[in-house]
């Protein structure tokens, strides 16, 4: 298990990561989600032991990364945002060098390299210079490096950036497979990716954790109100009246529909309302002779959760903000003190007059 406790990072007076804590369980894929500049890479660099933390503690399978870096790093495979490859080396040389760095015995190196190159499908570029590879291949070489030596904990910083759609799917499947033997933390700003791969998600923005939960729970938390999309043929007003009067309907919006006589509605249901309401609407419409040509339910998606979480009013970030706050407070205070003086002056003027 990997525990991250009260991790904080200051860049000068600017707080990039603010007191975050979470754990990564064995055989779990944890998604690390946030917009660009949220502090994802900084956090991952700290977990991997590249950047020292300003405060807090990272424990990797019992070893504190700051106190026993070598022991902790033996269990880490890290793929940074930019794949750390030497352009002037051949893929095989590079992987052999990385295997040496990770202290893999020379007798096992060949097999280990064969394993990761096969897994990432880079066997056919093994003898090429890395500088001649495309972005996608470089990314995969970097990924192969992280997998060398089968470390128990993998840190993957945006591993699918720069890959084509086919490769993205391949890499996602590899990550899913890794779950069997590894703990994985995997960052992304793409939601569909996280929801496709991860068990749990940590949402981070401006250095603060906005949510830690499973994807289902996050969807539920958003309120869980469903939207029905209904397309009907027949009397438009009649149909809209029927729908509006059904129990559990919160709001109805007419949508333009193509074709004569067809009308479409987006029906927002009340919280907790679901299939019963849908069936009631359908039954009533059919009873009144209105044909239903299409009906489907839309769940609130993770995208909505994400946007919602990120836009939540954030607490003050960084010392500068705090200073601004204090400054504005003192200014307000002094203004308040100034006012009576002004009035005194006014009075004096009046007196003079």
């Amino acid at each position: 298990m990997i525990t991250i406790e009260n991790l904080t990072k200051y860049y000068g007076t600017n707080r990039a990561v603010n007191n975050i804590s979470f754990t990564i369980n064995d055989n779990e894929i944890l998604g690390f989600l946030g917009p660009n500049g949220a502090g994802k890479s900084t956090t991952m660099n700290m977990i991997a032991g590249y950047l020292p933390m300003s405060a807090g503690k990272v424990t990797i399978f019992g070893s504190d990364i700051s106190k026993e870096p070598v022991a902790a790093k033996k269990n880490i495979g890290y793929l940074p945002e930019i794949p750390p490859v030497y352009p002037d080396m051949r893929v095989r040389e590079y992987l052999s060098f990385c295997a040496g760095l990770k202290r893999i015995r020379s007798s096992e190196r060949r097999d280990e390299i064969a394993r990761v190159t096969k897994l990432l499908k880079i066997e056919d570029v093994q003898d090429k210079l890395i500088k001649n590879l495309s972005k996608g291949y470089k990314q995969r070489v970097g990924f192969a490096q992280a997998l060398l030596g089968n470390p128990k904990f993998l840190i993957l910083d945006e591993p699918t950036v720069g890959l084509d759609p086919n490769q993205v799917i391949e890499v996602r499947n590899i990550i899913k497979d890794l779950k069997k033997e590894h703990s994985v933390i995997f960052s992304s700003h793409i939601l569909s990716e996280v929801s496709a791969v991860c068990d749990r998600v940590v949402i981070i923005n401006k250095g603060d954790i906005k949510a830690i939960d499973t994807i289902e729970n996050l969807e539920k938390k958003l309120g869980g109100s469903l939207t029905l999309h209904i397309k009907v043929k027949g009397d438009r007003t009649k149909a809209s009246n029927i729908i509006e009067l059904t129990d559990g309907v919160q709001e109805i919006t007419a949508i333009d529909a193509e074709g004569n006589d067809f009308f479409a509605f987006a029906v927002k249901l009340k919280e907790g309302a679901g299939d019963d309401t849908k069936n009631a609407i359908m039954a009533e419409l059919i009873k009144r002779g209105i044909q239903i040509s299409e009906i489907y339910t839309e769940k609130p998606d993770l995208e909505a959760v994400f946007v919602d979480m990120i836009n939540k009013a954030s607490t003050k970030n960084g010392l500068l903000d705090l200073l601004d706050e204090i400054k504005s407070e003192t200014e307000n205070g002094s203004e308040a003190e100034d006012e009576p003086e002004e009035s005194d002056e006014d009075e004096e003027k009046e007196d003079a007059e």
Binding site: K73, V85, Y86, D88
Partner: protein
């Protein structure tokens, strides 16, 4: 540590780099050797290798920074520093591995220069003791310059800037003893003695005259240790300060 050493050697020897720099070194050596032969006057046909070495170390100002400029600058430029720092190797091991690799290339260059004494030996007599002493001094000098060059390479991510700054610093080291003997500095005997303490050239002169003095060896060894320790501090400091 060994894997870093090996990788560095590969980057020198799998590319033309080590061969080109050795060829350049030998070309410059030939030039000095040739001019020494040209100065020969009858009836005593005699010249000294230490004198040639004395001239050749001047070229180190240009050659050594080229050798060391990429050591840390390129790691930063390619983002591969992350790989080294997140591997189960310590920063000290990284520095020593890289230092030994640079030193190996330097030994390769020195081996190239051995061609000239061998050539002379075939056609004349060689004073071996003096030559060996000069070689030890030569090696100590190079080892110190490599440590300085590596230190400067860790300050920047641009290898050309590392080379230029390295040249300037090595130039200062080379001529600090001349500077300390100028009339202006002579007015301040204490300053003069401090500056002179940093002068490496007179210490090399002892080697080239056939003296091996412990104080000179200590000077070069401590210069190397100071530079490599500073290198360690520079790398750690940047990790802490990054932002």
């Amino acid at each position: 540590m060994f894997s870093i050493y090996k990788k560095e050697l590969q980057s020198f020897f799998y590319t033309p780099f080590a061969y080109v720099i050795t060829a350049l070194f030998m070309f410059l050596f030939t030039y000095m050797f040739n001019s020494a032969l040209g100065d020969l006057e009858r009836p005593i046909l005699q010249f000294t290798f230490p004198d040639i070495f004395y001239n050749v170390i001047f070229f180190f100002i240009f050659l050594i920074p080229i050798l060391t400029m990429r050591t840390f600058a390129d790691e930063r430029r390619f983002g591969t520093e992350v790989l080294l720092m997140t591997s189960p190797v310590s920063v000290i091991q990284i520095i020593i591995g890289k230092y030994l690799a640079n030193l190996t290339v330097f030994l390769f260059m020195m081996a190239g220069s051995a061609f000239f004494p061998i050539f002379t030996h075939l056609h004349g007599t060689l004073i071996m003791n003096q030559l060996i002493c000069a070689y030890i001094g030569f090696f100590a000098w190079g080892a110190m310059f490599i440590a300085i060059g590596m230190l400067i390479s860790s300050f920047t991510e641009n290898s050309i800037i590392a080379a230029v700054i390295g040249e300037i610093v090595m130039w200062i080291f080379m001529f600090i003893d001349d500077f300390s003997r100028t009339d202006f500095i002579m007015q301040f005997p204490k300053l003069q003695s401090v500056l002179y303490a940093f002068a490496a050239q007179p210490r090399f002169a002892y080697f080239s005259q056939g003296f091996i003095r412990l104080s000179d060896l200590v000077f070069f060894a401590s210069a190397i240790i100071v530079c490599l320790s500073w290198n360690f501090i520079a790398i750690e400091r940047r990790r802490w300060k990054r932002g």
